[in-house]
C-alpha cells in the first residue's frame, strides 16, 4: 500500500469514521479503522457492529492495499499534522506516515480480523434532499425515548409517503412530528416506513450535507438500512452509514394528535420561551409550571416550598374555555427550541388531555405534550 493525500482530507475522513468506534473489550478490533488504498480513492471504514460507516476521499494511489490501525491514535496523530501533503505506506500490519519533517510508524492489526460491512442492492433506492433530512431529523431526534422498555419508541420513525416524508419521535410524554413536503424519488413504488435507532440518527445528522441541493440516497436490505452522501459533482459516494432498523411496529401515533381543542392561545415565541424559563427556575424538583389562560393573556405560575414562587404574565390571543393546566417546563422548552417562527399556537384539551404546540404559519412541525395532573 502506498498513497499520497492532503492532510486536510485525511483529517476529515478520520473525523467522521472515528466517531463510530468505541471501547469494545470483547472484540478489540472494533476500536480500529480499516484504511484501504483504492485506485484514486482512500477509503476508511469503522463499525461497532450496530452501525457501520465508510468514507471515501480523493488521493493519489501508487500501490493498492490496506491496513487496520487504532482509531483514536491515528486521529490524534492526524490532528497534529499541518496542511501539507502526506504519504502513507503499509508495511506488514504497520502503517508508515511520512510528511514534511515527519516520519512515524504505527502498529496495526491484521485486516483479516476486521468485520465486513454489509452490502446493499444499489439499483433501487430513495433519493431526497440531504439538507432537508438533516434539519428534519435535528428537530425530532432529542424527543426519542431513552428507555429500552419499549424499543420501538427508542428511535425515530421514518415514513415515506406518496406526497411527503414524515419524521416522528416520542417518549410517551411528548411527541414531535416533522413533515418534509416536496418531491423526492422513491424507486420502490410503495410507501416505506422504518424505525432508526437514536444513536444512528445522531451520526446521520453529522454526515448529512449542510449545503442546499445535495441529494442523498437510502437503500434497504434485511432489517438494515443505508444512507449515502455523494462527492461534489460526482456519482461516487462520499460517506455512507449502515445501521440496523429497530424491529417492531411504531405506535399509530396519529391517534395521539388531537384533532380539536378546547382552548387555544397564540403567543410570541421568544417572550413565551423566556417566561417559561423564568417560571421553570421556581419549578423545583418536579419542574412543574402552571399556565392559566384568561381573557386577554396568560399567567404562568410556579412554586416550590424550598425555593419560593413566581407569577408571570404575558399577553396572548386566547380562544375557548379559560383553564389552568400544569406542565413540565423542560418539555415545553424542548418543543420551542425546534420552532423558528416568531409566533406559536398552543392548543389545550383540558388539564388531562394532550396539548399541541405549532409554529404559526408553518404546518410542517407539531409538538404534542401531556400535562402534569393537577
Amino acid at each position: 500500500m502506498n498513497f499520497t493525500i492532503l492532510a486536510k482530507e485525511l483529517k476529515k475522513g478520520l473525523g467522521f469514521t472515528e466517531k463510530i468506534t468505541g471501547k469494545n473489550l470483547t472484540l478489540p478490533i472494533l476500536n480500529n479503522l480499516l484504511i484501504e488504498a483504492l485506485p484514486n480513492f482512500l477509503k476508511i471504514s469503522s463499525t461497532d457492529l450496530e452501525i457501520g460507516m465508510q468514507w471515501w476521499g480523493a488521493c493519489k494511489t501508487e500501490k493498492e492495499g490496506s491496513v487496520v490501525v487504532p482509531a483514536k491514535f491515528i486521529s490524534q496523530l492526524a490532528g497534529t499534522l499541518g496542511e501539507d501533503k502526506i504519504e502513507i505506506k503499509g508495511k506488514g500490519n504497520n502503517l508508515i506516515l511520512e510528511g514534511k519533517n515527519i516520519k512515524t510508524q504505527i502498529k496495526g492489526f491484521s485486516t483479516e480480523e476486521f468485520p465486513i460491512i454489509p452490502t446493499f442492492l444499489k439499483e433501487i433506492y430513495i433519493e431526497m434532499d440531504g439538507k432537508k433530512l438533516k434539519e428534519g431529523l435535528s428537530s425530532v431526534v432529542d424527543i426519542t425515548s431513552l428507555s429500552q422498555i419499549k424499543p420501538e419508541i427508542s428511535g425515530v420513525y421514518f415514513s415515506f409517503n406518496k406526497t411527503n416524508i414524515k419524521l416522528v419521535a416520542t417518549d410517551s410524554f411528548r411527541l414531535a412530528e416533522k413533515t418534509i413536503q416536496g418531491e423526492y424519488k422513491n424507486l420502490f413504488n410503495k410507501d416505506i416506513s422504518f424505525i432508526l435507532p437514536q444513536k444512528t440518527v445522531k451520526e446521520l445528522i453529522n454526515i448529512l450535507p449542510e449545503e442546499d441541493g445535495k441529494n442523498i440516497r437510502i437503500y434497504f436490505s434485511e432489517s438494515q438500512v443505508m444512507f449515502e452522501t455523494f462527492l461534489p459533482n460526482s456519482t461516487h459516494p462520499e460517506i455512507n452509514i449502515v445501521s440496523r432498523q429497530i424491529d417492531g411496529q411504531y405506535p399509530t401515533y396519529e391517534e395521539i394528535i388531537p384533532k380539536t381543542s378546547k382552548t387555544k392561545i397564540v403567543v410570541n415565541k421568544d417572550e413565551f420561551n423566556r417566561q417559561i424559563k423564568t417560571a421553570g427556575l421556581f419549578g423545583g424538583k418536579t419542574n412543574e409550571v402552571i399556565i392559566k389562560i384568561e381573557e386577554k393573556g396568560i399567567e404562568i405560575k410556579s412554586q416550590d416550598s424550598e425555593i419560593g414562587e413566581s407569577e408571570l404574565n404575558m399577553p396572548a390571543i386566547t380562544e375557548g374555555d379559560f383553564s389552568k393546566i400544569s406542565f413540565n417546563y423542560k418539555f415545553i422548552l424542548d418543543g420551542l427550541t425546534n420552532i423558528k417562527s416568531s409566533e406559536i399556537s398552543f392548543e389545550f384539551q383540558g388539564n388531562d388531555g394532550p396539548a399541541v404546540i405549532r409554529p404559526v404559519g408553518d404546518a410542517s412541525y407539531l409538538y404534542v405534550i401531556m400535562p402534569i395532573r393537577i
Binding site: Q148, I149, P151, F173, Q224, G248, I372, I374
Partner: protein, 452 residues
C-alpha cells in the same frame, strides 16, 4: 438428530478453532432455522454476522455439517433480529410521588392485537348484573370458536363491555400466544375500510382481516347505515365463521334494536350467544369501589364508599371518576382523611347530575334517532306501526320524565286528544312492567336522553 443438537455440535467444533472473543461476537444468538433436502438455513442476529459467516466461516461450518449429513451442499444465512425487549414490570413507585406526569395512553396498547393490557379478568368484578356474560366469556376463552360464536355482548354505557371483551382477548393471548387476535373499535373498522378504498388496498385489508383467529369488534352499532362497511364485514364474518374462528361483538343494544343494518347481519349476530350486562346492584357497586380504591392506593372510610355506592347507581365509569376525585382532593389537602361531608361536596357534580334536566325536543330526538325514523312529521301523525309505537313511547316519556299534562302532550303531537295520550301512557307503562325487551329499549332511550 434435531436441529438444535446439530447446531450445538457445529458450535462446539468451531469453538476449538477460533478465539473466544470472536466466538462470542459472531456466534451468539445463532441457530438453524430450517433444513431442506440439501441446504441448511442458519439464522443470525444481524447483517454484520451474516457477512462474516458467509465470508469467513462458511467452509468450516459446511465441512462440519457434512460430517453429519452428506447431502448438504449449501449453507444459507438469514437475518433474524433478536428481540431485545427487556420484560420489565413497571415499577409502582408512584405511591409517594405527589406529582403525576401524564403519558400517551395510546402507547400502552399492544400494537399487534390492539388490546390494552389493563383490561384483565383479575380486575373484572362479577355480580348478578354481568355473571351470564362473564360465564359465556370464560367458555369462549377455554375454546375460542367452539362454544359461542359469535359472542355478542350488549349493555349500557360504562358497564364494562369493553373491559370484558378486551379481557377475553388478553386471556386468550396469554393462554396461546400464537393466536392472532385483533381488537377493532367499529369506528376504526369503518375508517380503515374507507382508507383502503381510497388507497385501493381493499384486497390487502380483506386478507388481513381473514387471517385473524379471534376478531373483537367494539361498539358494532356504529356500522349502522354504513353500507360498504357492512358488506365487507359480512364477508369477513362469514369467512371467519366458516373456519371456526371466534368473533366477539359488543353493542349498546340488542342486535334486533340496531337500526339500519341489513337483515343478514342481524340474523348472524343472533346466531351465537347473546349476553347482556345490566346495571350493577348495590353490593357489586360497593365491591367495585373497594377494588378501585385499592388499585389507586386510596384509603377511605367505608362510610364514604357506601355513600357513593348509594348515590352513583347507573354507571361504573362514574364510580371510577368518583374515586379519582377523592384521590385528587386527598393529594391537594395532604392526606387528610376524607369525611363524608367532604365526599358529598366533591361528588356533587356526579351525583346531582345537571344532565338530568331535559326537554321534550331532546326526548323526541333520541327516540327518532333510536328507531331511525327520519321523517319527523310522519312520526307525529302516521298510523303505521313503525311510527305509532315510538310515538306512544314518546308520550309516555314526556309524561314520566317531564311531568307534562296529558293535554299539553296531545298538543305537541299535532293536537291529539288527551285520552289518546292517556291510553298510550298506560299501554307503555304496562309493557314496561311486563315486557323485558320493551324495558331495555326504554332504558336505552333514556340513557341517550340523559347522555349529554
Amino acid at each position: 438428530m434435531t436441529n438444535e443438537e446439530l447446531w450445538q455440535s457445529v458450535l462446539s467444533q468451531i469453538q476449538l478453532n477460533i478465539s473466544p472473543a470472536n466466538f462470542a461476537t459472531w456466534f451468539a444468538n445463532t441457530g438453524i432455522s430450517s433444513v431442506e433436502e440439501n441446504s441448511i438455513t442458519i439464522s443470525v442476529p444481524n447483517s454484520f454476522s451474516k457477512e462474516w459467516m458467509e465470508q469467513k466461516y462458511n467452509k468450516d461450518i459446511l465441512k462440519i455439517v457434512r460430517d453429519f449429513n452428506e447431502d448438504i451442499k449449501e449453507i444459507k444465512y438469514s437475518v433474524n433480529p433478536i428481540n431485545t425487549k427487556i420484560v420489565n414490570k413497571r415499577q409502582s413507585n408512584k405511591k409517594d410521588e405527589p406529582i403525576e406526569q401524564l403519558g400517551f395512553s395510546e402507547l400502552e396498547v399492544n400494537k399487534e392485537t390492539n388490546l390494552n393490557p389493563k383490561y384483565t379478568f383479575s380486575n373484572f368484578i362479577i355480580g348478578p348484573f354481568n355473571e351470564i356474560a362473564y360465564a359465556a366469556a370464560m367458555s369462549v376463552v377455554e375454546e375460542p370458536g367452539k362454544n359461542y360464536n359469535p359472542f355478542f355482548i350488549y349493555g349500557g354505557v360504562g358497564l364494562g363491555k369493553t373491559h370484558l371483551i378486551q379481557a377475553i382477548g388478553n386471556k386468550i393471548k396469554e393462554d396461546s400466544p400464537s393466536m392472532k387476535i385483533k381488537y377493532i373499535p367499529a369506528e376504526k373498522l369503518i375508517s380503515s375500510i374507507v382508507n383502503a378504498i381510497r388507497n385501493q388496498s381493499i384486497e390487502e385489508l380483506k386478507k388481513n382481516l381473514r387471517e385473524i383467529d379471534v376478531l373483537i369488534i367494539d361498539d358494532i352499532q356504529f356500522i349502522a347505515g354504513k353500507d360498504k362497511t357492512q358488506e365487507e364485514f359480512f364477508h369477513t364474518f362469514n369467512s371467519l365463521y366458516q373456519k371456526n374462528k371466534q368473533i366477539i361483538l359488543s353493542s349498546d343494544r340488542h342486535p334486533d334494536n340496531i337500526p339500519a343494518i341489513t337483515e343478514r347481519l342481524k340474523s348472524r349476530f343472533n346466531g351465537g350467544m347473546i349476553a347482556d350486562i345490566t346495571m350493577p346492584d348495590y353490593e357489586t357497586r360497593l365491591a367495585i369501589l373497594n377494588q378501585k380504591a385499592e388499585e389507586k392506593n386510596l384509603s377511605v372510610s367505608g362510610e364514604v364508599l357506601e355513600y357513593i355506592a348509594n348515590n352513583v347507581q347507573k354507571n361504573i365509569r362514574e364510580l371510577e371518576s368518583s374515586i379519582s376525585r377523592l384521590l385528587i382532593y386527598k393529594k391537594t389537602n395532604n392526606s387528610k382523611l376524607i369525611s363524608i361531608e367532604d365526599a358529598k361536596k366533591l361528588l356533587k357534580n356526579i351525583i346531582v347530575s345537571p344532565s338530568r334536566i331535559t326537554n321534550h325536543k331532546k326526548i323526541i330526538e333520541s327516540i327518532t334517532s333510536f328507531y331511525d325514523i327520519s321523517s319527523g312529521n310522519m312520526f307525529l301523525t302516521s298510523r303505521k306501526k313503525e311510527y305509532a309505537r315510538p310515538r306512544q313511547i314518546a308520550m309516555y316519556l314526556l309524561k314520566k320524565e317531564l311531568k307534562m299534562s296529558y293535554s299539553e302532550i296531545g298538543r305537541k303531537f299535532d293536537g291529539k286528544d288527551h285520552t289518546t295520550v292517556i291510553h298510550a301512557c298506560q299501554l307503555i307503562e304496562k309493557e314496561y312492567e311486563e315486557n323485558e325487551k320493551m324495558r331495555q329499549e326504554i332504558d336505552l332511550i333514556l340513557q341517550r336522553v340523559y347522555s349529554k
